[in-house]
Symmetry: C2
Subunit: 116 residues, 2 copies
């Protein structure tokens, strides 16, 4: 999704939020400040390249704030901006909606087994 085709705000948001990582990163950041390495631990399967790319995209979109501290060891912290915080409930609402749609057949292999 390199370019926009529709002049529609919906397409513009999706350009930022599309993909596996953006919403997950926002979700983890809604916990509070995180370092680069924290986010790597939260999402063990993301490559460091993707992590930097996605964080930059979120930063450019005004959703995430990046702070690079002096000193040792190097420390870079990521937080949600006020706009990012306002986005969180909207993303949560999508998650809740989905749990309603998929009517409980999410995580089929983790379903509680009653042992009577």
């Amino acid at each position: 999704m390199k370019e926009l085709v529709s002049r529609c705000p919906i397409e513009e948001v999706m350009q930022v939020l599309s993909g596996r990582w953006p919403t997950l990163l926002i979700y983890y950041l809604s916990d509070g400040t995180k370092r680069f390495s924290d986010l790597q631990r939260d999402n063990p399967t993301i490559s460091h390249k993707m992590l930097t790319l996605e964080l930059r995209k979120l930063e450019d979109a005004g959703i995430v704030q990046r702070t690079d501290f002096d000193g040792y060891p190097r420390r870079v912290e990521y937080d949600l901006t006020p706009a990012g915080l306002r986005l969180v409930p909207l993303i949560d609402a999508l998650g809740d909606w989905w749990e309603g749609v998929s009517g409980g057949d999410v995580l089929p292999d983790v379903v509680t087994v009653r042992t009577t």
Copy 2:
């Protein structure tokens, strides 16, 4: 985004809604029933292959209902399911949120010019 990595409903929704087309198609379908060719007209840049693929994905996710009518000329209609209808306001909210974030600098070349 072929597979899920997180057991998180947020990642699951995004697997369905990610990309340029899903939310746009839902948006157009929120207008009411549309035929395949209507959706092609609404989004002139989508290829027929992508249109069928995306519509199938939305159908499988329970967001869109497909009805194939007998007769000539062939007619296939697409509608939002009740779940799809419930999703619409959430998508709209994202669009509104974005218009707030990007603070009016959307559509810079369409900004109203006061002629006073």
